[in-house]
């Protein structure tokens, strides 16, 4: 089997089919409402300024079906103090979780229904607001209020029908400011802004197709006219699995072009983890292999000059060595261009035990601390030749958690690919973020009654929905626009200007598309006020005479002049 290198185009259908890649998206997009979803707070530009802070802790609670969610239990182990910064212009007692929700924002609901119709969903007749648990603190209540508008829809991507599992309407979460040790700090201005969540089926066959899904959804959202546009208004979660692997969710990818390498490296990571499992099994390791064997090695660490450990023990912390029987060499197992199984262990120790100064582990597959020192540690911990040893250091309680996490992660390595949410790294790899939550995180919101939708609601949304995306694109292609031009028009919401101006100008459609999508965007970037470039201005410039013969360059020169001297301004 060939493996594409990092310079590949991530579209080798045969390779990804062979490893059984399955990939789908969850696209979160803010709706362009004036107010938040469950209170009267205005949606304002984000600001780092704040007037006050509150402190909260989160505890796991039972799901509706009587189970604890695994993510919740993991977060509880982290013993995080959560600090929320409050700005009185953007937050009220609702976001602070000091007041119950007000009625669901009708404008948000109507906007979301427009998208639901464009996604061809089976619409529900009654919305049930659910509480989806988030114990990471990103929402002060400990849960996100969310509801489903429809299931079983479809979009068309490059002529292929792709399933849309569901569309949700929900409140956005806080923006994280910092996460150091046991303290995580959030800004609350973004909290509770209405979002839609579009979940596709895992039908992307290559990493490139996954990005295409995202682009089609972006175009569809822009065409809908109901969403907020611009930086920070959209985030993609990417679900990836391969044959024998598990669903892993890469969270909060802001740019579509990041998607292909992320999917690719995640697929390879899962493949490598499965190979590591086979290697471990070949050594006869069973699930109880990691149950015991750890020793205090604070005295040994005191003799080291280590950038993290030395400080940890100087501050009164302890160091412990965990013996992993018959695991020598496994921690160095490569899982990506820069990552090994040890990186995964280190992630767990960082996230769950909050030992976040790196490097937070030392292990015998990386002998940089010196053979002599490791001999002492091995002797102290009672490790034999074929055993691996991992050392962690920090406050006593954190070290106890860390020791347990090292064992948990190694047990998971024997099971294969753990179900996780992961965060994107700049090079296309990912790092552990949380255990993947399941349906047990859902709980009905007893604060809000169900919202019945009637035929009027559906009719209003149908009337407001634009023509289907494929139809609009076909019309523009019929005017002679290239695929790239169509995409450029839908890259922002300026396509409206194109449609409005088209019947009023004599320009060739391709020239008009260039002016609207490319040239104005460039001018705007250069600081020219392009807000004045409306259909009236374009009609007055190109509505008569010989405009039909103008080249792109000539037309653009006229527009630049008009915008710079204000001659044609009304």
């Amino acid at each position: 089997m060939r493996e594409p290198d990092s310079a590949n185009s991530f579209d080798d259908l045969e390779f990804y089919a062979a490893i059984g890649l399955q990939c789908g998206l969850e696209v979160h997009r803010q709706l362009a409402t004036e107010h938040k979803l469950f209170c009267a707070c205005p949606v304002r530009p984000y600001s780092p300024l704040y007037d006050a802070e509150i402190l909260r802790h989160m505890r796991p609670t039972l799901s509706e079906l009587g189970e604890y969610d695994p993510t919740a239990l993991m977060e509880f182990k982290t013993r995080k103090q959560i600090i929320y910064r409050l700005n009185r212009d953007t937050v009220c007692t609702y976001e602070m979780d000091d007041a119950p929700p007000f009625a669901l924002n009708r404008d948000a609901l109507e906007r979301a229904l427009v998208v639901a119709i464009m996604l061809n969903l089976n619409l529900v007749d009654e919305l049930h607001v659910a509480r989806k648990q988030y114990l990471d603190g990103s929402i002060p209540t400990g849960f996100q209020r969310t509801c489903i508008l429809g299931v079983g829809g479809r979009i068309t991507v490059n002529g292929r029908r792709i399933g849309v599992r569901q569309l949700g309407l929900e409140e956005d979460a806080c923006r994280e400011v910092s996460d150091v040790g046991h303290t995580r700090t959030f800004l609350t201005d973004r909290l509770s802004i209405p979002l839609i969540e579009v979940v596709t089926e895992s039908q992307a066959r290559t990493p490139v197709e996954a990005a295409e899904f995202a682009r089609v959804i972006r175009r569809l959202c822009h065409l809908s006219g109901v969403v907020r546009t611009g930086l920070g208004t959209v985030r993609q979660d990417v679900n990836v699995s391969i044959h024998g692997g598990s669903r892993v969710e890469i969270k909060g990818v802001p740019r579509i072009r990041q998607i292909p390498p992320l999917v690719h490296y995640e697929a390879l990571r899962q493949k490598a983890l499965l190979e590591a499992r086979e290697a471990a099994k070949a050594r006869g390791l069973g699930p109880d292999a990691f149950d015991e064997g750890d020793e205090d090695v604070t005295a040994e660490v005191r003799r080291l000059d280590h950038p993290v450990f030395s400080q940890a023990v100087a501050e009164g912390g302890r160091a412990r060595a965990v013996v992993l029987r018959r695991c020598a060499g496994l921690l160095a197992w490569p899982l990506g261009p820069t990552r090994t199984l040890a990186s995964e262990v280190s992630d767990r120790v960082r996230v769950v035990a909050c030992l976040d100064r790196l490097p937070n582990i030392a292990h015998t597959d990386d002998p940089s601390l010196g053979q002599a020192w490791w001999r002492e540690v091995r002797a102290r911990a009672g490790a034999a030749d074929g055993d691996a040893v991992v050392v962690v250091a920090g406050p006593r309680q954190d070290v106890a958690t860390a020791v347990e996490e090292v064992r948990i992660r190694m047990r998971e390595a024997l099971a294969g690919v753990p179900r996780e949410t992961r965060r994107a790294l700049p090079n296309g790899e990912t790092a552990f973020e949380r255990v993947l939550p399941g349906p047990d995180r859902m709980y009905p919101d007893t604060d809000l009654p169900p919202v019945a939708l009637n035929d009027d609601d559906f009719e209003r949304a149908r009337a407001r929905a634009p023509a289907p995306l494929e139809e609009v694109e076909a019309r523009w292609r019929g005017l002679g626009l290239s695929r790239a031009q169509v995409d450029a028009l839908l890259f922002t919401d300026r396509f409206r200007l194109f449609d409005e101006a088209l019947p009023r100008v004599r320009l060739r459609p391709t020239v008009l598309a260039y002016l609207v999508a490319d040239f104005l965007t460039g001018l705007g970037r250069d600081g020219v006020d392009v807000g004045r470039a409306d259909a009236d201005l374009l009609a007055s410039l190109y509505g008569s005479g010989t405009a039909g013969t103008l080249t792109q360059k000539e037309a653009a020169a006229q527009l630049r002049e008009a915008l710079s001297d204000g001659r044609h301004a009304p």
Partner: protein, 463 residues
């Protein structure tokens, strides 16, 4: 299975649709409606919701409602009933730890969902509590007893007397402290009446609840309960106390005197305030109980407690408003009420048209006391003629007793006697600081948001 169970909560067209297609709750179904296909588990319906929708739990955990009249077909794929239970673990006992009894009246320290009503049902056994708040075992040996399971607005004289009797019985049996789980709405009413009914207790009697139900990750229930257990087990404050969050942050709790405390916000965690005085103490996991004053009753070794659980409920509060008509007072008198607490304006005033009605009330043997609706400050009926006129009519000033506390005390006093002088004497004799001789300068502090110095304070100290 009975029909009520099989179609739990469903009525009208929705129930008919389920019957027509032969499916019931907890069945995994494939459902086709005019709007498309859905796969999910049929959930019981909340009885207060309409009768036109069937609720499905989708595989993703989300619930959705399908219009009954749009359903074309339903096929059952099996049955999967939820087993909702709070994990129970045996509460460990340690002979070296203090013994605390938790008496339950309602509220949501630990809770589960009731599908029929959509409300949360409190769970309560020590095992359940230990399963959800294991920290309790580090503090005390816990025994629990469920006296009532009511929302706090449904507490009344019968429950107050029952609760006071149970508290006295527990004290006599030798516990080191008592915690009372209670809904927050009327926690201060019950705290006040307990202060009169259970006198001179040798151990702490700590009332606790939560402003966010315990089925929420951000609930204040666990921390409040931990604070209350710490107070009951270890503090030396032998009084009836309300133990609830100080600030809205998860920082510390405040211990308020049962007769000086009031719920002041409908939903904030920081809702209980000591009015006209300062709280008795702070309590936190880090520092334990830290007294803010020294004049509290100390814990004693003996088990002597005076139970005086009587109550005459023929008492009402009249919240005065300008333009009030005298027939409001007349109506109470005609209906046989024996005591009236007026929450008057300012220093304790009502309008002139009420005077004849008040005279008729006093002449009929009704005991009328004046409190202030400003909550802070004393009744002072000498400053204006109005006040003097009212006293001439027989209206008795109740100093700085809070209106609800005066109501509780008058009901308790009238449980003993109806003799006018004796009622007045008892009302004027403080039992548990319901009247205080002085209001300290920091007894009235409601910080005004927006002021630069207050905003500086808020930025520096977590709310």
């Amino acid at each position: 299975m009975s029909g009520d169970e099989r179609w739990k909560g469903y009525r009208g067209p929705a129930r008919e649709a389920l019957i027509r297609f032969g499916v019931g709750v907890w069945e995994d179904v494939w459902l086709r409606s005019r709007k498309g296909e859905f796969r999910g588990l049929v959930l019981p319906r909340n009885e207060t919701a309409d009768d036109r929708h069937v609720v499905l739990k989708l595989e993703t955990g989300y619930n959705v409602g399908i219009a009954a009249d749009s359903i074309l077909d339903v096929v059952s794929k099996g049955r999967r009933e939820a087993h909702y239970h709070i994990p129970e673990r045996e509460f460990p006992t340690d002979p070296d730890k203090p013994r605390v009894t938790l008496l339950g009246t309602g509220g949501t320290i630990a809770s589960r969902l009731d599908y029929r009503t959509g409300a949360v049902i409190p769970a309560f056994s020590p095992g359940e509590l230990y399963g959800s708040v294991p920290e309790l075992a580090d503090i005390c040996n816990l025994r629990t007893e469920k006296l009532y399971a009511v929302f706090s607005e449904n507490m009344g004289p019968e429950q107050w007397i029952g609760l006071a009797t149970a508290v006295a019985r527990e004290i006599e049996s030798g516990v080191d402290g008592i915690v009372i789980g209670h809904g927050t709405d009327t926690m201060h009413h019950t705290a006040a009446v307990l202060s009169f009914m259970v006198q001179d207790p040798p151990v702490p009697i700590v009332m606790v609840g939560s402003q966010r139900s315990s089925d929420r990750p951000s609930s204040d229930a666990a921390l409040n309960l931990i604070h209350a257990a710490l107070t009951a087990a270890r503090s030396d404050i032998a009084e009836v106390l309300v133990c609830m969050f100080g600030p809205t942050s998860d920082r510390y709790g405040l211990l308020h005197r049962g007769t000086r405390v009031r719920k002041m916000h409908s939903s904030s965690r920081s809702t209980f305030r000591t009015i006209g005085d300062i709280p008795v103490a702070l309590v936190s996991r880090e520092e334990g109980v830290r007294p803010l004053r020294r004049d509290y009753r100390k814990r004693r070794k003996d088990r002597r407690v005076r139970l005086d659980a009587v109550f005459d409920d023929r008492v009402g509060i009249v919240y005065y408003y300008p333009g009030m008509k005298p027939d409001v007072v007349d109506a109470l008198v005609e209906r046989g009420y024996r005591g009236i607490v007026i929450a008057g304006t300012g220093l304790g005033h009502v309008n002139k048209p009420l005077y004849p009605a008040l005279r008729r009330a006093v002449d009929a043997g009704v005991h009328v006391f004046m409190t202030v609706q400003t909550l802070w400050g004393y009744v002072q009926m000498y400053v204006y003629d109005t006040g003097r006129d009212l006293m001439d009519l027989g209206v008795v000033p109740a100093a700085n007793m809070l209106p609800e506390v005066a109501y509780m005390k008058l009901g308790w006093v009238l449980g003993h006697t109806h003799d006018r002088d004796e009622v007045r004497r008892l009302m004027r004799t403080p039992v548990a600081n319901e009247v205080t001789p002085r209001e300290p300068p920091d007894g009235y502090l409601v910080l005004q948001g927006g002021l630069p110095e207050v905003e500086r304070f808020l930025k520096k100290h977590r709310m």
